[in-house]
């Protein structure tokens, strides 16, 4: 009994540690004092002024555009690459996986610097250079989500469709693609998450005047963070929370029977 209780207290402390900073940020979004240390009473004004602060709104737009565009392009290149890699023989397969792992294993700071050194040769640093950088670190996540799915697919169905006269493209869209959709979706959302969360690589590859939310916040640290930023982050956090809850609940009702013991 005591062991159980102690266990629960321990889990509670770990969860508190993980969520304390988030609670702080949400509380700050309702603080009418601009100072981070003084509580000036409850207010909703930052949620109203949020839509008038151009710097934050434009950085938010850049962040979203970069995230979805880079994830979409990475998904297309990554899907095509996965199909190709899947049919390769062992040696080439290994070589491709080695190169796919480089951006994952390498330190972000090195990836950012390397791209920056290369970009300054032929491209003015700006939004395009950041986009290329984000696609570069997103493709590996897409491939690592799709390739395992491909390995589990029964390729004989595809071959049967071909034998019965379907064209390669037709057999692909009708047989392979439906089975791959979960993997593609997982890769896409992983890529969106990674892109939105990135600071270091964006910091090195962006040109002056281009700001994502992360680089905007980093630039404001000395001057003090605008309270509207806390409001925006709280809204985003809430949206993600609700989305994940919906996905979780709908997933639970669907898989109730099909999933005996998870492991």
């Amino acid at each position: 009994m005591i062991r159980r209780a102690l266990g629960k207290i321990y889990l509670g402390i770990v969860v508190l540690f993980m969520y304390a900073p988030i609670i702080v940020l949400i509380v700050l979004s309702f603080n009418s004092s601009k100072s981070r240390v003084v509580w000036g009473g409850f207010t909703l004004k930052w949620y109203r002024t949020l839509f008038e602060s151009d710097a934050i709104i434009s950085a938010f737009g850049t962040t979203l555009t970069l995230a979805f565009l880079s994830a979409a392009i990475a998904s297309v290149i990554g899907l095509a690459a996965s199909l190709g890699i899947y049919t390769m023989r062992k040696r080439n397969y290994r070589i491709m996986l080695f190169f796919t792992n480089i951006p994952l294993v390498n330190a972000d700071i090195v990836t950012g610097i390397a791209l920056m050194l290369w970009f300054v040769r032929f491209l003015e640093l700006g939004i395009t250079s950041v986009l290329i950088a984000h696609i570069t670190f997103n493709i590996p996540y897409v491939i690592l989500c799709i390739l395992p799915k491909l390995e589990t697919i029964d390729i004989r169905q595809f071959e049967a469709a071909r034998d019965l006269g379907a064209t390669g493209l037709h057999a692909f869209t009708r047989i392979l693609l439906p089975d791959l959709v979960p993997g593609i979706m997982a890769g896409f959302f992983m890529a969106v998450t990674m892109s939105m969360d990135d600071f270091v690589i964006t910091y090195f590859t962006k040109g002056p005047g281009v700001n994502t939310l992360s680089t905007l916040i980093y630039g404001e640290i000395r001057k003090g963070i605008k309270p509207e930023m806390y409001a925006l982050s709280s809204i985003l956090f809430l949206i993600v929370l609700i989305t994940l809850l919906i996905v979780y609940i709908s997933g639970r009702t669907n898989n109730n029977k099909s999933e005996p013991a998870d492991y």
Partner: protein, 274 residues
């Protein structure tokens, strides 16, 4: 459709890898092995052995090691508690662990700063309880707190996956054959969870060793990790050759650690579990 035809599909990716992964890295090596005039030199590649840089490297390694260790110590009991409890809904657990990552990373670190600073929330609570105050802001300890906070999910996920996958039958069998709690732990649980701990360590050690943002915010700009030194060479001192030389050194250390810890994580134990 022949294999060759399908393989053509990976050509765009191969070109992308060459253009934006391989060539940029070659540029780093090229910058690192030449000086400002473009002559070949070993000066910058060996600059990591200068006392100042060596100190930054050793501090980075020490903090990354401490961070990884603390993450293991926090995560392992969580995994054991969840394994013995009836509550095994892994989806909910994952959900709770991943959700904080959706708050902007820099804002979260600023919130940590607010919690542990001299006039921060924690010190307010401590003084209300008449307890001595916490004075770790702008010290290496504060950086470790921030890194443990930020990278804990990277340790929790693999450790949890690994521990929850250990079949209960084996543990029961061990107990039936007379093993005590300690023996079950050292002979069954621990060996079978090493692969999870190994991949957790790689995922925590590498980013914490190359970190500069957390060190800037929680270290008050006074504590120099290798990441900070490199960042300043690029953004303040504008000595790109030196910055590249140090980056190459950093890459070497990252490769060594992934080789040491990551090698095992492909899972020699996995066959046994399945």
């Amino acid at each position: 459709m022949s294999r060759k035809k399908v393989q053509v599909l990976s050509i765009p990716y191969i070109l992308w890898v060459i253009g934006f992964t391989v060539i940029p890295l070659l540029f780093v090596f090229a910058k690192a092995s030449t000086n400002a005039e473009g002559d070949l030199t070993l000066e910058y590649l060996l600059a990591i052995f200068d006392p100042v840089h060596r100190k930054a490297l050793l501090l980075s390694i020490a903090l990354a090691f401490t961070t990884s260790l603390i993450c293991v110590v926090i995560s392992y009991p969580v995994a054991l508690i969840l394994k013995t409890s009836k509550f095994k809904n892994t989806k909910i657990i994952m959900f709770v662990m991943i959700l904080p990552m959706w708050m902007n990373f820099i804002l979260r670190i600023l919130a940590i700063q607010l919690l542990i600073s001299k006039n921060g929330v924690i010190n307010h609570l401590l003084s209300m309880l008449n307890l001595p105050s916490l004075n770790i802001i702008n010290t290496p300890a504060a950086i470790v707190v921030g890194m443990v906070y930020d990278y804990l999910p990277y340790m929790l996920l693999p450790v949890l996956n690994c521990v929850l996958a250990i079949p209960d039958d084996i543990i029961e069998a061990g107990k039936d054959l007379g093993a005590g709690r300690l023996r079950v732990f050292t002979r069954i649980l621990l060996p079978l969870s090493l692969s999870g701990i190994g991949s957790g360590i790689t995922m925590v050690f590498v980013p914490s060793m190359t970190e500069f943002v957390i060190a800037n915010i929680l270290g008050g700009g006074k504590i120099q990790l290798l990441g900070n030194v490199i960042e300043q060479e690029f953004s303040v001192s504008m000595n790109w050759n030196l910055g590249s030389g140090l980056s190459v050194a950093l890459m070497v250390f990252v490769l060594i650690t992934t080789f040491l810890f990551g090698h095992d994580s492909s899972g020699s134990n996995r066959n046994f579990v399945l």
